[in-house]
Symmetry: C2
Subunit: 413 residues, 2 copies
């Protein structure tokens, strides 16, 4: 086939559903390739940098700093705001909530995940989630508003007790940040200082179960130094509006309950293939359900035989997105893509303002302030927008230097 003949082929219509880490990484890479007509679909016109949602929830960052406009991230790529309600792999089409039907030649599914309650009674009704900007905003509002309410006598002092469920990175980061927020609030509400508490509940025997035991122990110690009451080996049996009942008949009183214990893919796509318990679709080693349907990020269940599937984290999604873009280019050029290989770079979690635990894949392990510096640098590196980076640095420098004496974010209804 001559160059001319290739040039004359119609472009491959790629539709990417979801503008998270995976979907955007794929779109950004495809944008530079020839021969593709790319459309990205998302219900929101912004990408959320979800590793920093807990900072929004605790007043450390304004929400603008972690929400990046999708169109600005992928100039020249078509962006369609909407919700996908149906997919036909036979007809090669999908339908949006406003009735529009879009055709595609290659489909990339990158819808991500949402919180899941594992069916524990009372969780859906009584706990706040933290998967979206709106949910983080609601947590922030609740945390700050409660001080006002208690001071005015509209709520009992017990309302200042916070319970966070889930000892993974999200729960660890969130509970540490809440402890520091509470300390900062004491200056403004000195009479309430003794009543604000935060308890972190984890069902397993240690925090950060995907980390090494040393890191888990360090996270526990650092959180306790911040005043967090950590309860491991404590599974939630039921939630009520202001109490959490743990196994063994332990009852925690709680004005705010935050659920950070589990994520799952949206259930409505399970029928497209074989789904696991978390609604994730099992994919081939090239991340496909079919020759023209790719699944990436939290929605993908990708595992070597006998091994655990890849974790539902941003770095997996990012690598998958880039891989699919590369594979589409290879495929269009007549080649066939090599299997996807995840390159694990490690994991990290921050604890309060100046500490973190970091485990790099080479075996390097950091804790405390050096780990925090590494955490800071890497997050800044991955934050999409230059503007956001400037603001975030300013806020972090400020938090780091003078949180102890400076103001906090305020309740704006």
């Amino acid at each position: 086939m001559t160059q001319d003949a290739i040039g004359a082929r119609p472009p491959t219509r790629v539709v990417i559903v979801g503008a998270g880490f995976g979907g955007l990484a794929c779109a950004r890479k495809l944008r530079k390739a020839d021969g593709f007509d790319v459309t990205v679909i998302d219900r929101n016109p912004y990408q959320v940098f979800s590793p920093l949602l807990y900072q929004v929830a605790t007043g450390g960052l304004p929400e603008d700093d972690i929400a990046y406009p999708v169109r600005a991230a992928i100039p020249g790529v078509r962006f369609r705001r909407g919700e996908v309600v149906a997919i036909s792999t036979a007809a090669h089409t999908l339908r949006l909530d406003d009735g529009t039907v879009l055709p595609w030649d290659q489909l990339v599914l990158a819808m991500g995940s949402t919180g899941t309650t594992f069916g524990i009674p009372g969780v859906a009704e009584n706990a706040l989630q933290m998967k979206t900007v709106q949910e983080a905003r609601a947590i922030r509002h609740r945390l700050l508003q409660t001080y006002e309410d208690v001071e005015l006598g509209h709520a009992p002092r017990e309302a200042l007790q916070v319970v966070v469920v889930g000892g993974g990175p999200t729960g660890v980061e969130l509970s540490g940040a809440i402890a520091e927020l509470q300390r900062a609030m004491h200056r403004e509400f000195p009479s309430l200082a003794d009543y604000a508490t935060v308890t972190l509940v984890e069902a397993g025997p240690r925090l950060l179960p995907t980390f090494g035991e040393k890191s888990s122990a360090r996270a526990l110690r650092d959180l306790e130094k911040l005043g967090v009451d950590v309860r491991v080996s404590s599974s939630v049996e039921r939630m009520y509006p202001s109490t959490v009942r743990l196994a063994g008949n332990i009852v925690l009183s709680a004005g705010t309950i935050i659920w950070a214990a589990g994520v799952a893919a949206p259930p409505q796509w399970a029928g497209l293939g074989t789904a696991d318990r978390a609604n994730r679709l099992e994919v081939s080693d090239t991340l496909r359900l079919a020759d023209d349907v790719w699944v990436i990020g939290d929605l993908a269940h990708r595992a070597e035989p006998g091994e655990r599937p890849l974790p539902m984290v941003g770095s997996v999604a990012l690598q998958m997105g880039k891989y699919v873009a590369r594979s589409l280019v290879e495929q269009r050029a007549g080649g066939s893509p090599k299997p996807f290989a995840y390159r694990d770079k490690g994991q990290m979690a921050t604890i309060g303002r100046r500490r973190a635990v970091v485990e790099l894949s080479g075996g390097l392990r950091l804790a405390g302030l050096p780990a925090w510096m590494a955490w800071l640098g890497l997050h800044l590196f991955y934050l999409t927008g230059g503007r956001q980076r400037v603001s975030v640095v300013a806020d972090w420098v400020w938090n780091y230097l003078v949180w102890g004496v400076g103001p906090r974010r305020t309740v704006i209804d």
Copy 2:
């Protein structure tokens, strides 16, 4: 009277209603004096730096940056969140919306002002105001959401036409910032570039009527360079959902109408004394209605005989607040306060990102970039919080250097 006898006197109970520029300035100064028991009341737990509301409305700053927690501004001073619904000067009490009755020895009224429509038909129903953070947020949402709506075909292209009414500093700053926002949005919505417009309507013969004619002419020229369609000598006769009718049967089509044409004090306090057309209470040369009732800021009508009253701007309120604090101290020490004298330092308005007009009271007049630098420095100086200052500097430096290529704030519902 001996020191001991003075020391034994009960403290003077001062209640300050309103935590704006005037109320907070008064509280901050009184806080350092002996012999006062001070309570500040406001419906919101934050102070709004209102000169920068237009930046929130146009996506230049997150709302956190211009809202400062009141309690953090006045540590040690009692803050009471609530709305004052009744004042009895005879009984020396006031009542809050939750029924609480607070006694006072000295009352400082600093409720500020709200937008007023001058009774022009259709304004209240069809125009957005910009006096509160919530209103600025609503403007921002409308400006950004309209692009989404038009692109999806949910709104006609005419929806991208913006009309700002009022050629004072607020209208000038807002229309310039909207023109720049529209330019930034063109990169994300290239097909809509030709349809977004902004028109600034002023009833009087020139913009910035309180400035000199040179500054007015400069503001006009700078706004027109930014693409703003400026209509002076154009009074609004009526508004409809998507049109503004001007005198002379001129009709402007408008997707978003913003009213920045007039402010007035809240009407419910007019009965406490003699009120002018803008509901402002006429006060003595010591800013009093009675020996123990002081009125400051936008709520105060203070004029020398035959002269115009002092303008409703932040610097007047600030100086009045400090003056009342000093006077209360003098009064308690047995002295009697000297009349209030306003020290006019000048006025300024910014036009777009890099231009401003500044008039200092000594007669110095600046325009263009030097004026903008002066504007920037002064606003940063007066922003209350250190943290806010860091963030705002970061955002402004960013806007200044790379607005042309950087992302903008996004629609977060």
